[in-house]
């Protein structure tokens, strides 16, 4: 999940999710970066509305927390 965390971190920071930026973040975290995965990630995210994907997910955990407990 490191790659997606890096992407979301960039997204939240208002930065573009480019191969370069993702790689920089991962490097800073000491991750041995696999270029192919970075490429795949950036390509996959190209047409995705990240805000929408986030808001869909956001509904769940709050409601779930007590149920899961």
């Amino acid at each position: 999940m490191e790659y997606i965390y890096a992407a979301l971190l960039l997204h939240n920071a208002g930065k573009e999710i480019t191969e370069e930026n993702v790689t920089a973040v991962l490097n800073a975290a000491g991750v041995a970066v696999d270029d192919a995965r970075v490429k795949a990630l950036v390509a996959a995210l190209e047409d995705v509305n990240i805000e929408e994907a986030i808001s869909k997910a956001a509904v769940a955990p709050v409601a779930a927390a007590p149920a899961a407990a």
């Binding site: 999940m1 790659y3 997606i4 965390y5 979301l8 939240n12 995965r37 795949a40 990630l41 390509a43 996959a44 995210l45 047409d47 995705v48 990240i50 929408e52 994907a53 986030i54 869909k56 997910a57 956001a58 769940a60 955990p61 709050v62 927390a65």
Partner: protein
């Protein structure tokens, strides 16, 4: 053959012959108990059974004569011909006959001394009675009757006789007045002889719900087998595809395979994890910014 009937008067002989013909001409002969069935209802039952079964009333002694003359395994029906018996002839199978007879049962008023076939419940609500001694009569047997708006009313639902208990005269009278008919009255099949075998009611009563449940279970099992063993049928192919897609998505998300079709799911998962950790951090003193929640 005429061993038993040679001494009988002509009308009895004819009666015995008629019984024997009925038995010989039908696949099934049953012994039914006619006890307590008013003549008017017997007519109704005959009408309901028309085309499928014939009821033949005869004295037990004559039935016995006929069965004994026929001999063989059918004579065993003698053991069930007691009281006010009649014979029933049909070509249906005994299970179907049993069901048909169950359906001809009707509700009747209870007579004192009869046993409640199920809980007898007096429903809540208004009655047609005007205030009078009826209120006391009802109250006496435990029915919560009250006067309201110039009418007698039952204040709340009340079970007056439990299943299996005897119905006494006072309750029988009260039920009659209230128009409650708790008794199932109809032909009760004591035994049926069908192609060499005697069937008794304990064998013949069918729990249709159990059959329906088993059908549902079997259908579920077939569905499960088809999907789990990946044997596509027109009914299950959609579910099989769904399962395969689901599995692929699960693997994709679990392994963080960044493919367009599932990257939103991976984002969702990351987001949920972040929120879970954020909430845990918050409960340990980390103040969350507004954007987080």
């Amino acid at each position: 053959m005429a061993l038993y009937t040679h001494h009988l008067p002509r009308w009895k002989k004819e009666e015995v012959e008629a019984i024997k013909r009925g038995i010989e001409e039908h696949a099934l002969v049953g012994v039914v108990d006619m006890y307590g069935i008013p003549a008017s209802q017997v007519q109704q039952i005959r009408r309901n059974l028309r085309g499928t079964a014939t009821v033949k009333m005869a004295r037990n002694t004559l039935i016995e004569h006929a069965l004994n003359e026929l001999g063989g395994s059918v004579a065993a029906l003698n053991d069930y011909a007691e009281g006010q018996s009649a014979l029933i002839f049909t070509n249906e199978n005994p299970f179907k006959l049993f069901k048909q007879l169950e359906k001809t049962k009707t509700k009747m008023a209870a007579k004192p001394g009869e046993t409640a076939p199920e809980d007898i419940v007096v429903p809540k609500g208004p009655t047609s009675f005007k205030p009078g001694p009826i209120v006391g009569e009802l109250q006496q047997v435990g029915i919560p009757a009250v006067i309201e708006g110039g009418k007698v009313k039952i204040r709340e639902e009340k079970t007056v006789v439990k299943k299996g208990e005897t119905i006494n005269k006072k309750i029988a009278d009260a039920l009659l007045k209230l128009g409650i008919k708790p008794m199932d009255v109809g032909l009760v099949l004591q035994a049926a002889y069908y192609r060499g075998t005697i069937f008794t009611p304990d064998l013949l009563s069918i729990d249709e719900e159990a059959y329906a449940n088993n059908i549902a279970l079997a259908a579920q099992q077939a569905f499960n087998l088809s999907v789990n063993a990946v044997i596509p049928t027109s009914i299950t192919i959609g579910a099989i595809i769904g399962k395969a897609v689901q599995e692929a998505r699960n693997v994709g998300v679990e392994a963080s395979i960044y493919e367009k079709d599932i990257v939103d799911l991976i984002i969702g998962r990351a987001q949920r994890e972040m929120l879970a950790v954020a909430l845990a951090a918050q409960s340990h003193g980390f103040e969350l910014d507004e954007a987080t929640l």
